[in-house]
C-alpha cells in the first residue's frame, strides 16, 4: 500500500512537471507578450524594451522556466504583470472558491435530478416515462452550456426576473444570497452533467437488474424497493462514480463558458483572460492548480470506488 502510494506520488509529480513544461513552452510560443498589453496604445520601443527587461522577459526561455519553477516550489507564485496583484491572491483567494462553489452547486444539482430520474427510467423501462426522461437527459447533455446560459439569462433573469442574471456572492458570507446567485449558473453547468449521469444510471441499473444475483435475491424472498435500493444500487453506483469522476474535467470545461456568460470571477474566466494577456505566472499557476484539483478528484474517486467495490479493495 505504502509503496503503491509512493509510486503514485512520483507519477503525480512527473505529471505536474510535464504539464508545467508543456504550458510554459506553449505560452512562450504564442506571439506577443504581456508588455505589449501593458503598454497598449502607449507603446513605444524604449519603454517596451526596458519593461521587458525589468520583468525578466528578455532572458532565455530555459532560464525563465527554471526561475519560475524555483519560485513556484518555494511558494512564490509571482504576480500579475499588468495589475501587480499577487497570483496566489487572485487565484486561491478570489477565483478558486467561486469555481469550487459553482462546480459543487452543479454537481449537487446534477445528482439530485439525475440519479432518481435514471432509476425511474430504468424501472419503467421502455415506457413513456423512460423515453421522456432519457429524451430530456440527452437533450440537456447536448445543450451547449454557453447557449443555455444566454437563454436562461434572458428568459429567467431579464424577462421573468426570477433569478439574478449575473454576479457572484460568496455563500460563505450570505448563504441564501450566494445560492440564489448560483442557481442559474449551476443549472447551466449541471444540466449537461445531469443528462450524462441520468443516462449512465439508467443503463447500468438496467444491466444490474438482469444480473443473476438479483434473481437470487428474489428467490430469497427479497422484493420491491429493497431489491433495487439495497441489492442493485451499490453495483449501479460503481460505474456511475467512475464516470462522474472522469467527467469532472468536462465539468471544468463547462465552467469556463458558464463563468464567462454569467460574469463569475472563477478560475475558468481567470485563466482565459490570463492566457489572452500573456500573464505567464498566472497561467502557469492556474494550470497547475487545475491539474492538482483534477488529480485530487481522481484520487477521491478511486477511494470511493474502492469503498463501493470490494473486488479492488486489496492492494
Amino acid at each position: 500500500m505504502l509503496q503503491y502510494a509512493g509510486q503514485r506520488l512520483v507519477h503525480t509529480l512527473i505529471l505536474l512537471w510535464l504539464i508545467s513544461v508543456f504550458v510554459f513552452v506553449l505560452m512562450k510560443m504564442a506571439p506577443g507578450d504581456p508588455v505589449m498589453i501593458m503598454l497598449g496604445s502607449d507603446f513605444n520601443p524604449e519603454s517596451y524594451a526596458t519593461l521587458r527587461h525589468e520583468l525578466g522577459l528578455d532572458r532565455s526561455v530555459l532560464i525563465q522556466y527554471l526561475v519560475w519553477v524555483w519560485r513556484f516550489v518555494r511558494g512564490d507564485w509571482g504576480y500579475s504583470y499588468i495589475s501587480g496583484e499577487y497570483v496566489s491572491k487572485m487565484l486561491l483567494q478570489d477565483a478558486l472558491p467561486v469555481t469550487l462553489y459553482l462546480s459543487l452547486g452543479s454537481l449537487v444539482f446534477a445528482l439530485i435530478i439525475a440519479i432518481p430520474s435514471g432509476i425511474l427510467a430504468a424501472l419503467k423501462r421502455n415506457t413513456w416515462v423512460d423515453y421522456a426522461g432519457m429524451g430530456l437527459a440527452i437533450f440537456f447533455n447536448s445543450f451547449p452550456s454557453f447557449y443555455l446560459g444566454i437563454v436562461l439569462i434572458w428568459v429567467f433573469g431579464v424577462t421573468l426576473g426570477w433569478f439574478p442574471t449575473m454576479g457572484y456572492h460568496p455563500p460563505a458570507e450570505d448563504l441564501t444570497k450566494g445560492i440564489y446567485h448560483l442557481i442559474l449558473p449551476s443549472f447551466t453547468l449541471g444540466a449537461w452533467y445531469a443528462g450524462l449521469i441520468a443516462r449512465i444510471t439508467r443503463s447500468s441499473l438496467v444491466d444490474v437488474l438482469n444480473e443473476n444475483y438479483i434473481k437470487v435475491a428474489k428467490a430469497k424472498g427479497v422484493q420491491g424497493r429493497a431489491l433495487v435500493y439495497k441489492h442493485a444500487m451499490r453495483n449501479v453506483l460503481i460505474p456511475v462514480v467512475t464516470i462522474v469522476g472522469l467527467q469532472l474535467g468536462g465539468m471544468l470545461r463547462g465552467a469556463v463558458m458558464t463563468e464567462v456568460v454569467f460574469a463569475l470571477p472563477g478560475i475558468g474566466r481567470l485563466v482565459t483572460i490570463a492566457v489572452l494577456n500573456r500573464e505567464y505566472h498566472l497561467v502557469q499557476a492556474t494550470v497547475m492548480v487545475i491539474a492538482i484539483m483534477f488529480i485530487l478528484v481522481n484520487l477521491s474517486v478511486d477511494v470511493l470506488y474502492r469503498y463501493l467495490n470490494p473486488r479492488v479493495r486489496e492492494l
Binding site: M38, G40, D42, Y48, L51, S83, L270, L276
Partner: protein
C-alpha cells in the same frame, strides 16, 4: 480662450446634421433598430436635460458594470480607458475637463489658480486643506514629486513623453509651485488633466514608495472615493472619502454616495441583461448594437455624444501594396462610410473625413465632409486612383482584426466584414484574419501587417490626436507614414499659442494627412453610458469619463 457664441451653435448644428443624415439612412436600412435609435438620439444630444437636477440626496450606493477592462489603478502606468474611468473617482488632477454642454475646457482642479506669466511658465496656486486618503496633506511637494516621477526615465512611465519639455519644478511655498517648460507646449492642459491626460494625476508619494509594484492595487489619492477592495475579474469597491474637499449643492462635502461598486463584467450582453433586470444601476459603455434596446427602455437613461476620437483603416505604408500612394487613395475613396455607420456603429457615429473631431471645437471644420476637401466616398474617383497605382492587377491583402475574448466595447470584426466587399470593387481582395490581442498588439507595434482597423479615443486636443500617431517615427505611427511637410506643420502647431494660427496649421496638416491617405478615416463615434433613471446628478463629459463626484441615488 474666447470664441463667439454663434460659431459653436453652428458647429453643434453640423454635428447634429451629420447625425440626422446617418439616422435617416439608418432608418432606411433597418426598420426595427432605426426607429429605436431615432427615439433615443434626441435625448443624448442634450445630456443635461437627461439629468435634470433635483435636490441631491445623500447616502446609498450604486452598482455599475464596467465593460472596459481595468489594468492598474496607478494612473501613471495605465493604458486602459476602463482604468482611467476609475481613476477619475479616486484621484484629482492638476486640471480637470469641464463641459458646459457645448464646449470642452480645462479648469483648475487641485490647482486653485493657474497663471501663465509667459508661455513656458506656469504658476499653480494649490487648494489648501486637501488630504490624501491616508491622511497626508496635499502640498506643492506632491506636485513636484509627481511631475518628476513621470519624467524620470527610471520610472518608465509610458506617459513620460507628455512632460518631455518639462524643464524644472520650483516650490514657491507649501501651496504654490512654479513649473517651467522649455517650449510653450500646447498639449499641456490636456496632459495635466486628471482623467485621460494622466500626466497631471496626483498620487501619494508615501503609498507609492511603500507599496512598490503593488501600488496599482492599493492606490491612494485625493479623490472623492477610496478603494476598499478589488476582487479579480469580479468587482472594484469604492467607498466615500469623508474628508473630500469639494462641496456639494448642500454646502456639505461631496460625494453624496457612500459606496460605488464597479462590477468587472466583460460580457456585454450579460451586463445589458443585468441592467434591464434592474440588478445594476449603469454601464460604463453601451455596445452599439444594444443602443436601440436600452434607449427603448423607460427605466434607463442613455447618455453620450460624439467624442474626441476617430476610427480608421490603417494601411501599411512600408509594405506592398500600400506603399503606393494612389493605391491608398483608392482605398480612402472606395469606402462608403454610411453603411459602416449604420451596420457597425448602429447609427452611433458620424462620418470621419479626417482626423480632427468635433469636440476639438477650436479646430474642427464643420464643412470638413460636405466640402469634399478631405476623404469621402466616390467609387469613380477611387477607380481612377486605382488605375494610377503601380499594382495593376488584383491584389490580395490580409486585414488584421483583434479578436478573442477581450470584452472590448468596440465594433470588433464588423467593420472589416463590411469593408471587405467594398474593396473587392476596386480589385483588392481582403482576407480577414483574427488575432487575439497580444498577437495583434505585437504585429501592430512591429508594423507586421498590411491592413488593420484602429481608433484613437478620448482625445481633447489636435496635438494628441495627430502628432504621436502620424509624425515620422513617432510611437503610434504604426503604418510608417512619413511626410516632412506634415511633420513640420504639426511640429509648429505644438507650440503655437495663438488659436487662430494654430488652427490654420492644423487645417493644412489635417488635409495633407487625409489626401496622403496613410489610412482611410471612417468615423467619429459616440460614446454612450447607460444609467438607471434612479441615478441622478451624473455630469456628462465628452472624454469618456464616469465621474461619481456629484452623483446620487433617487
Amino acid at each position: 480662450m474666447g470664441r463667439n457664441e454663434h460659431e459653436h451653435k453652428a458647429k453643434l448644428a453640423e454635428t447634429i446634421r451629420g447625425d440626422l443624415v446617418t439616422r435617416r439612412a439608418f432608418l432606411k436600412g433597418t426598420a426595427v433598430l432605426g426607429a429605436a435609435v431615432a427615439a433615443g438620439r434626441a435625448g443624448l444630444l442634450a445630456p443635461r436635460e437627461v439629468l435634470a437636477q433635483q435636490k441631491a440626496k445623500r447616502g446609498g450606493q450604486i452598482r455599475v458594470a464596467w465593460i472596459d477592462t481595468v489594468d492598474t489603478l496607478d494612473p501613471h502606468f495605465t493604458s486602459s480607458l476602463g482604468a482611467i474611468k476609475v481613476h477619475d473617482n479616486i484621484y484629482n488632477g492638476i486640471l480637470k475637463v469641464d463641459y458646459d454642454g457645448k464646449r470642452v475646457s480645462f479648469v483648475p482642479d487641485l490647482a486653485e489658480k493657474w497663471e501663465m506669466p509667459d508661455p513656458v511658465t506656469h504658476i499653480l496656486t494649490l487648494r489648501k486643506g486637501v488630504k490624501f486618503h491616508n491622511g497626508d496633506d496635499f502640498t506643492a511637494e506632491d506636485i513636484k514629486w509627481n511631475q518628476e516621477r513621470l519624467k524620470d526615465p527610471q520610472v518608465k512611465s509610458p506617459h513620460g513623453w507628455k512632460l518631455a519639455y518639462l524643464d524644472k519644478v520650483e516650490i514657491l511655498d507649501k501651496h504654490k509651485v512654479k513649473i517651467v517648460f522649455t517650449k510653450p507646449y500646447q498639449f499641456l492642459p490636456v496632459a495635466w488633466t486628471g482623467s485621460t491626460g494622466r500626466a497631471g494625476t496626483i498620487v501619494n508619494r508615501k503609498a507609492v514608495e511603500k507599496q512598490g509594484r503593488a501600488y496599482g492595487r492599493n492606490p491612494v489619492g485625493t479623490g472623492p472615493f477610496k478603494l476598499v477592495e478589488w476582487v479579480e475579474n469580479d468587482r472594484i469597491v469604492l467607498e466615500r472619502n469623508p474628508q473630500y474637499w469639494e462641496k456639494g449643492a448642500d454646502g456639505k462635502p461631496l460625494p453624496y454616495l457612500d459606496k460605488v461598486t464597479i462590477l468587472l463584467i466583460r460580457e456585454e450582453s450579460t451586463a445589458v441583461g443585468a441592467l434591464l433586470a434592474g440588478e445594476i444601476d449603469g454601464m460604463d459603455l453601451v455596445p452599439f448594437q444594444f443602443l436601440p434596446l436600452l434607449e427603448k427602455n423607460p427605466a434607463v437613461n442613455v447618455v453620450g455624444g460624439v467624442e474626441g476620437n476617430y476610427t480608421y483603416i490603417g494601411l501599411n505604408n512600408r509594405k506592398p501594396p500600400f506603399d503606393d500612394t494612389p493605391m491608398r487613395q483608392a482605398v480612402a475613396f472606395a469606402i462608403d462610410r454610411k453603411p459602416i455607420i449604420e451596420q457597425a456603429y448602429f447609427g452611433g457615429a458620424i462620418q470621419a473625413c479626417s482626423a480632427i473631431s468635433p469636440p476639438m471645437a477650436d479646430f474642427y471644420n464643420l464643412d470638413q465632409c460636405s466640402s469634399k476637401r478631405a476623404q469621402y466616398f466616390d467609387l469613380e474617383k477611387a477607380k481612377a486612383f486605382r488605375a494610377q497605382s503601380k499594382y495593376k492587377d488584383e491584389v490580395e491583402v490580409e486585414w488584421m482584426v483583434v479578436g478573442g475574448y477581450t470584452g472590448s466595447g468596440g465594433v470588433g470584426p464588423r467593420m472589416a466584414e463590411l469593408v471587405q466587399p467594398m474593396l473587392a470593387k476596386i480589385g483588392i481582395k481582403v482576407r480577414i484574419q483574427l488575432f487575439e490581442q497580444a498577437t495583434w498588439h505585437k504585429k501592430r507595434n512591429t508594423g507586421d501587417f498590411q491592413l488593420y482597423d484602429e481608433g484613437w479615443v478620448a482625445d481633447l486636443d489636435p496635438d494628441e490626436t495627430i502628432y504621436p500617431e502620424w509624425v515620422t517615427g513617432k510611437p503610434w505611427n504604426f503604418v510608417g507614414y512619413t511626410n516632412p511637410e506634415f511633420d513640420k506643420l504639426v511640429g509648429e502647431a505644438q507650440f503655437e499659442a495663438d488659436v487662430k494660427k494654430r488652427k490654420a496649421l492644423y487645417d493644412k496638416a489635417d488635409l495633407t494627412l487625409a489626401l496622403d491617405a496613410p489610412c482611410a478615416f471612417i468615423a467619429h463615434f459616440k460614446v454612450f453610458k447607460a444609467l438607471s433613471k434612479k441615478v441622478q446628478g451624473f455630469k456628462y463629459l465628452p472624454a469618456d469619463s464616469m465621474r461619481f463626484h456629484a452623483v446620487w441615488r433617487a
